[in-house]
């Protein structure tokens, strides 16, 4: 046995002999990307598409904020007409949720990293993986059609009965969501199977990197919740095509049933958005503190717990839609249980930093920003989960601020942190760290400036989705708009830093941060088949096993 294993360990420890050959230059031409089955290329194509969607959604967000600079008490004088404003905020929400946040971490970073972290060549079903990507593209085309036809003005939640009556292109949008849903289902299915059946010898469940635990929990939700959304939006599309009446009060249907169906998916979908972000933070905290993760098992279990609790709390979106008192109380109580595993994670991340060797580089700054923003987002969620306060805060800017703190301050910031963290691995280029930190700082300041005033607006009674407001709110709205511009600037800087690195960046070493997970054991960027020889699996958070080599600027696995 030892005769077989000893040459293997030595090949792993030495850097790749031909670093010039990697997945990016493995083959060339348009079709080599369009028909690729390589998970890394599929991940990169997702990344490009997702960033495009994010840009699109961001433009709509800025349009909303610019419009709200003035109270618009006279709709004639307003920058956007009321009808246009409705379309703009709906497209902002729908694009950000369905095209950007849900696929952001799992489909882009997850696709790239999952097989490498598992030491395999690819995901279990590479063709299905490519199929998921093209389903995503088809969904994008449907949304693009929506954009260029009559838009959509129902809000991203498509509540009936208005979505049945609306003159806008609800059909195209719902079919787009249906298709995107199946893209998401197939990605989740692929990841679950890959993690279950393709872990390398020696990688037990509790030796998996926490990012994989998070992606696994996410995938469970994707597989279990998304089909329900699929049938719901399909029924809504049929409602418009052939008037089936299931959700239409005019035909004795029940619009509240639509809300139940919709939130049965869309609440778990909130965890589809945040769980993989939490997985990124677990990696970032540990690697950049150069200290083993604190409470590994509890973080892993809490991911699964969040995934399961997430299915039992959808009713808290509907406290004001006339459910029975007992039901609302049960939903409220269950909502509070979700805060427990979330808090476990936050405390474990703080515990990880304690007495660690914290490197304050760009990914870590984003991770710290995440903890601050996510905590605010999570704690303000408790106000909305409590029945008495929710009655007051329901459908106000407090809700808007809350979910932006979680979705944007949480998921987006973690996504950016992860993107900076794995950027050297994905592209083989190092970015300018100082400029990266600057971008993180601007994003952090801009974000808080945008959304802290919205909490105040919400408690004072500013309803969400309104195109106009009373003059008393103008100062806070203007603060928020200035914040949004700052935030946009920060994101622009972040994008420029990454773009700059592509052309002028130094060549990235194999392991620039000192990570102990398997992706840092293949060259940057990884070769076509990921590993030239099979990797050995150790503790993913054992940082005593790696040491810095000043000559190459890289960390290496210590030879034993």
């Amino acid at each position: 046995m030892s005769a077989v294993t000893s040459p293997m360990t030595t090949t792993v420890a030495s850097p790749d002999k031909s670093p010039e050959h990697h997945y990016l230059n493995h083959s060339s031409g348009f079709l080599s990307w369009a028909l690729t089955l390589d998970h890394k290329r599929i991940g990169m194509m997702y990344l490009a598409g997702i960033l495009f969607s994010f840009f699109l959604g961001g433009v709509f967000a800025l349009a909303i904020r610019i419009h709200l600079w003035n109270p618009n008490l006279d709709p004639e004088a307003a920058w956007l007409s009321n009808a246009t404003y409705n379309r703009v905020f709906t497209l902002h929400g729908a694009i950000m949720v369905f095209l950007f946040i849900i696929p952001s971490v799992p489909a882009a970073l997850g696709n790239f990293l999952l097989p490498i972290m598992l030491g395999t060549k690819d995901v279990a079903f590479p063709r299905l993986n490519l199929g998921s990507f093209y389903l995503w593209v088809t969904g994008l085309l449907f949304f693009t059609y929506t954009l260029f036809s009559s838009g959509i003005d129902t809000g991203w939640t498509f509540y009936t009965p208005y979505s049945i009556e609306s003159k806008s292109a609800v059909e195209a949008a719902t079919l787009g969501v249906f298709i995107l849903g199946f893209s998401s289902i197939f990605t989740g299915l692929n990841f679950i199977v890959t993690i279950n059946t393709m872990r390398p010898p020696g990688m037990t469940w509790f030796k998996m990197p926490l990012f994989l635990w998070a992606v696994y929990a996410t995938s469970i939700i994707q597989v279990l919740a998304t089909p329900v959304l699929g049938i719901t939006v399909l029924l809504l599309a049929l409602e418009r095509f052939i008037g089936i009446g299931i959700f239409d009060p005019a035909l004795n249907g029940d619009p509240v049933t639509f809300q139940h169906f919709f939130w049965f998916y869309s609440h778990p979908a909130v965890y589809i958005m945040i769980l993989p972000a939490m997985g990124i933070i677990s990696e970032l905290m540990s690697v950049h503190s150069h200290k083993g993760i604190f409470g590994y098992r509890m973080i892993a279990y809490s991911s699964i717990a969040i995934a399961l609790f997430g299915f039992l709390v959808w009713g808290h979106h509907m406290f004001t839609s006339g459910m029975a008192d007992v039901t609302t109380i049960v939903f409220s109580a269950l909502t509070f249980t979700v805060s427990i595993p979330s808090a476990i994670k936050v405390f474990n991340w703080l515990g990880t930093m304690y007495q660690g060797t914290v490197a304050l580089n760009t990914p870590m700054i984003y991770a710290l920003a995440f903890i601050f923003l996510f905590t605010i987002g999570g704690l303000t969620g408790l106000f909305l989960g409590a029945l008495s306060t929710d009655m007051h805060l329901h459908d106000t800017y407090f809700v808007v601020a809350h979910f932006h703190y979680v979705m944007m301050g949480g998921t987006l910031v973690a996504f950016l942190g992860g993107l900076f963290h794995w950027w050297p691995k994905m592209t083989g280029k190092m970015f300018n760290d100082t400029a990266g930190i600057l971008s993180a700082a601007i994003v952090f300041v801009g974000f808080n400036l945008t959304f802290l005033p919205q909490f105040v607006l919400g408690t004072r009674g500013m309803p969400r989705r309104y195109a106009s407001y009373v003059r008393e709110f103008q100062q806070l709205h203007q603060l928020s708009t200035i914040g949004a511009m700052t935030l946009g600037l920060g994101l622009l800087v972040a994008g420029l830093v990454l773009l700059h690195s592509l052309f002028y960046g130094k060549k990235a070493p194999m392991n620039p941060w000192g990570g102990a997970t398997l992706e840092w054991e293949c060259s940057s960027p990884p070769p076509h088949d990921n590993f030239s020889s099979p990797p050995t699996v150790g503790d993913p958070y054992d940082f005593t096993s790696v040491e810095y080599d000043g000559k190459t600027g890289s960390y290496f696995k210590k030879k034993k």
Partner: protein
């Protein structure tokens, strides 16, 4: 020491895999990165046949879970509306021909048997039996759709349409001139013609492979029309009468249910009125949703069972009926496509004891499609 991988710990039900695994894995350190020892049927990123089989199987089971959840939305809608308006379901169910439903149930159950047999045949490399069994499954699926076409077209003809297109059922109503059945038969007819040409071509070029593929396809095309014929016979002569003479002397003579609810309707309607009135009040209390008493307009007063015989009541039932059976039929068509793909692969003799995952997994899918129908049949057809 070499640590055992998770997948190496459990014994596999098929002992053949154990052998392959050790054969393939041993030279490559249990994590085969070498290409030369990969047989053509083993994808490059899998270590061995067992891993490939297990991945495929787990993937299919997960997919089936999503399918069940996909249908669960409609089952939920069914439960909600039946609970709220039980009398509507009784009234409308009588319009469904349980004989056709029963035949289709039998056809699908039989196709499950042939599918299971096909899995066995693929393991034993019995190519002829495998192609035959897959062909039989495909034929059954086509027959199911044939019967379904008769059911659908008949209902469309007399205005049993979903939601806002529902036409209140009255006796002696004029029936639409459109022959929906012919429209539904156009595509199968074209396909059957293509399959016939393909079969003739395969005979001409004397290709065993093409004959194996074309034969089952042609048979399944014919099975569709056998299903249509069978459906027409069971749907009864009254279907003919309605289109022919337009007379409705058949009401008492025929066993077919569609006239019954209108004849016996009065008693049910009385009962229904009382029930809905009671429930209406309790409903308002528990939910903010709409109250379920649809106003009866002047024109509707002359219609039998007007409380339920309208778009918001019976129409909603038919919405649920068409959504559930329609989505199910789409799954049947999807199943037919993948079974055709299997027939092509089977005709190339690709399956053997170490590689039969596709047949096994399509089989699982097919059983699920049957399974859903087994729920749909009593829930929709057998309400008394």
């Amino acid at each position: 020491m070499k640590i055992e991988s998770p997948r190496q710990q459990g014994r596999h039900p098929f002992p053949k895999f154990q052998k392959t695994m050790t054969e393939v894995a041993a030279p490559a350190d249990g994590h085969g990165h070498d290409h030369h020892d990969h047989p053509s049927w083993l994808a490059h990123h899998f270590d061995d046949a067992e891993q490939q089989y297990d991945s495929g199987k787990l993937g299919m089971w997960l997919f089936l879970v999503t399918e069940v959840l996909f249908f669960s939305g409609m089952f939920c809608a069914y439960v909600l509306y039946r609970n709220r308006n039980p009398e509507v379901f009784e009234f409308c169910s009588a319009f469904l021909n349980e004989k056709l439903g029963a035949i289709n149930t039998g056809v699908l159950l039989f196709s499950s048997l042939t599918m299971a047999w096909a899995v066995r045949a693929s393991q034993l490399k019995q190519t002829k039996i495998l192609v035959g069994m897959l062909g039989a499954t495909l034929g059954c699926a086509a027959m199911f759709l044939g019967v379904k076409s008769v059911e659908y077209s008949h209902k469309w003809g007399i205005g049993l349409l979903p939601g806002r297109y529902y036409v209140a059922q009255v006796e002696n109503a004029p029936h639409a001139e459109t022959n929906y059945l012919q429209m539904l038969c156009v595509i199968p007819a074209i396909l059957s013609a293509v399959f016939l040409l393909y079969y003739v071509y395969s005979l001409v070029i004397a290709s065993k492979f093409h004959q194996r593929v074309a034969g089952p396809l042609l048979v399944s095309g014919l099975c569709f029309f056998a299903g249509v014929g069978l459906g027409n016979i069971l749907e009864g002569g009254e279907h003919h009468d309605e289109h022919g003479a337009g007379s409705h002397a058949h009401d008492d003579a025929h066993g077919h249910a569609h006239a019954d609810p209108l004849v016996q309707g009065v008693a049910t309607a009385e009962k229904a009125t009382v029930e809905t009135a009671d429930e209406g009040i309790s409903f308002v209390k528990t939910s903010g949703g709409p109250v379920n008493d649809v106003a009866v307009t002047k024109e509707e007063e002359g219609i039998p069972n007007s409380k339920v015989n309208n778009q918001g009541m019976a129409g909603l039932f038919f919405s649920i009926y068409y959504c559930m059976t329609g989505v199910h039929a789409v799954h049947i068509i999807g199943g037919m496509l993948v079974i055709t793909w299997l027939i092509v692969k089977a005709s190339r003799e690709e399956f053997h004891s170490e590689y039969f995952g596709p047949v096994d997994n399509v089989g699982l899918y097919w059983h699920l499609v049957d399974f859903i129908w087994i729920y749909l049949f009593p829930l929709l057809y057998l309400i008394t």
